[in-house]
């Protein structure tokens, strides 16, 4: 007799993986901590891949909590172009834990949002949401007013949600060293001018990511004591790296660090769970079959597999009735992803 004798089947590689079709591995891949029910409010933020989570919640009749909905009249296609209904509020992609901390500190008054704006061809772009308006804003005043509203709506989503789903995307980031704030994309890529004296590259390490997320949880739960978190790691590789590493090595390093932080937080905090979307796409078990030919874009089948697993796992554990599977038609393959702009610079 030894301790492994009492371990369930899912703990052993042969019955849990090797003897199964890869499409059956997800049957018990995740044991969720929380029973999310349709009446719960779920806010979603994060990197590009996080956009699928909100849509999947909505298509299954769950309470995707949108605090900044598209204004009446705007049709769905244009609402998407103006970044409505992408995340719970119009923050754009929040790729890093430090960016999430930045939004949180602005929302709850711990820091004042910067007044920096980027100008290009007489249009104004928000350095913290560079693609939020396809053609930019008509003035800096209009831009700052819009951002201030989004900050309030971000706060509202935190205050009134039951669950906060956050997808960690990157460790690499660009900061304004002078002003000590972070941009979601390097200045000069989407708009703005790169200034090597002010704009510095940072590749965040385990401790700083852990600290940022811990601080985010502390602030959010100070204002919403019952808020629970579900962390995921985006399976989408880096478009480009500014580290000295090959992009493949840089991707593995980034994702491994993010995965470790997420795992540690979920293991040590009862109000944090980790959903293994990263493993379901990236594990060698799946042989890269959920990627498009560019080996970066996750296919609709991959997204469906991940999202079906999310809901099925909740149903399996808690026995709650879940609506049908995710429809492939509900998966938007036209995600909004500023980071992808970097692709244009690779020859």
């Amino acid at each position: 007799m030894n301790p492994y004798n009492n371990q369930p089947t899912r703990a052993f590689w042969k019955p849990a993986v090797a003897s199964r079709s890869m499409y059956e591995i997800n049957d018990d891949i995740w044991k969720p901590k929380f029973n999310i029910i349709p009446s719960n409010r779920v806010s979603t933020y994060g990197s590009c891949f996080a956009q699928h989570i909100g849509r999947a919640l909505k298509s299954r009749g769950f309470g995707w909590y949108i605090t900044e909905p598209p204004p009446f009249g705007l049709n769905p296609k244009n609402a998407n172009a103006f970044n409505y209904g992408i995340f719970s509020s119009r923050t754009g992609n929040i790729y890093t834990s430090s960016l999430l901390r930045q939004w949180t500190e602005w929302a709850f008054g711990f820091k004042t949002p910067p007044e920096e704006v980027w100008e290009k061809n007489n249009r104004f772009f928000d350095p913290f949401r560079p693609n939020i308006e396809p053609e930019g804003f008509e003035s800096d005043t209009e831009l700052l007013r819009s951002r201030a509203h989004t900050i309030q709506m971000f706060k509202k989503s935190v205050m009134n949600s039951n669950y906060f789903v956050f997808t960690l995307g990157l460790t690499e980031c660009w900061v304004n060293e002078e002003k000590t704030y972070e941009y979601p994309i390097c200045p000069g890529v989407a708009a703005g001018d790169f200034d090597e004296k002010k704009h510095k590259f940072k590749n965040q390490q385990f401790q700083s990511i852990l600290k940022n997320l811990s601080e985010v949880f502390n602030i959010m739960r100070k204002f919403n004591a019952n808020l629970k978190f579900i962390l995921t790691v985006s399976p989408v590789p880096l478009t480009a790296t500014y580290s000295a590493n090959h992009v493949c090595v840089a991707t593995m390093e980034s994702k491994s660090i993010l995965r470790t932080v997420a795992g540690q937080l979920a293991a040590n905090r009862p109000y944090v769970d980790y959903f293994p979307s990263y493993e379901m796409i990236n594990s060698p078990v799946y042989k890269g079959s959920f990627f498009e030919p560019n080996q970066r874009t996750v296919s609709k089948f991959g997204v469906k597999y991940v999202m079906d697993t999310f809901f099925q796992s909740i149903s399996n554990k808690f026995g709650t009735h879940q609506k049908n599977q995710t429809n492939l038609e509900d998966i938007d393959d036209d995600m909004i992803c500023e980071e992808q702009l970097l692709e244009a610079f690779g020859q």
Partner: protein, 235 residues
């Protein structure tokens, strides 16, 4: 001159005028109408037949569409004051929010117009190659009342110009409702022309209807390059 008016409840005020004034020397008017924007569901524009009739639908002896010299598309939710959520008032109210960019606002107005039953009717007529004989007219502005509405004059003007622009883009003549009906501020229809129904601040009465109808006939003649005689102005 054979004229068809495709519309909704706003045609009632026009149809009522014909009971008292004979314009048969100038025009033969037919109507097809249903509540709200439902006329495009009640009438099959391809087979030129009425698909369904109910108590809210008006459809008289309609000729084939190509037998009409001029076709007016009137109302059909380009402006809609009715209660409910999907209306023009809500559009203008939401557009007045300070935090919306001008670009979002313009797109809201554009989408509202192009997704309206009015535009869909125009598109159906376009498929039948009839747009050269079509005149597009929004319903009258809402009747003036004391309640304050949470929208700004500038937003209304932006909407009005977007409405005209989007209709004209379809290659259709756009005709706004007669300014004679409007208050000085251009936001409302004068109380003078309010229908007698107490709570109805959406529809004009027969007096207003006559002003609109005259404008329709005059513009139909203008579109066809014909002149009206002196007796017309005495009607």
């Amino acid at each position: 001159m054979n004229i068809l008016i495709i519309g909704n409840s706003h045609v009632i005020a026009l149809e009522a005028v014909l009971k008292h004034i004979n314009i048969s020397d100038y025009a033969n008017l037919d109507f097809i109408a249903a509540a709200g924007g439902q006329v495009i569901e009640h009438y099959d524009f391809t087979s030129m037949t009425v698909k369904a009739k109910d108590k809210n639908a008006l459809a008289f002896d309609i000729k084939n569409l190509d037998e009409y010299d001029v076709i007016f598309v009137y109302g059909l939710r380009l402006r809609s004051w009715a209660d409910g959520t999907k209306n023009w008032l809500r559009l203008l109210t939401e557009a007045s929010a300070e935090y919306l960019s001008a670009a979002v606002k313009q797109q809201m107005f554009k989408d509202y117009v192009t997704d309206s039953a009015h535009c869909r009717a125009l598109q159906l007529l376009g498929k039948l190659n009839l747009l050269d004989r079509v005149i597009s007219v929004p319903s009258p502005l809402p009747i003036e009342r004391e309640s304050n509405f949470q929208f700004k004059n500038n937003d209304l003007r932006l909407y009005e110009s977007s409405m005209a622009k989007e209709i004209q883009k379809l290659g259709v003549k756009f005709l706004n409702t007669p300014s004679e009906l409007n208050c000085d501020n251009g936001i409302f229809t004068k109380r003078l022309y309010k229908t007698s129904r107490d709570d109805d601040f959406n529809h004009i009465d027969e007096v207003g209807g006559k002003i609109v109808l005259k404008l329709f006939v005059e513009n139909a003649y203008e579109l066809k390059g014909r002149d009206l005689d002196k007796k017309w102005s005495e009607l």
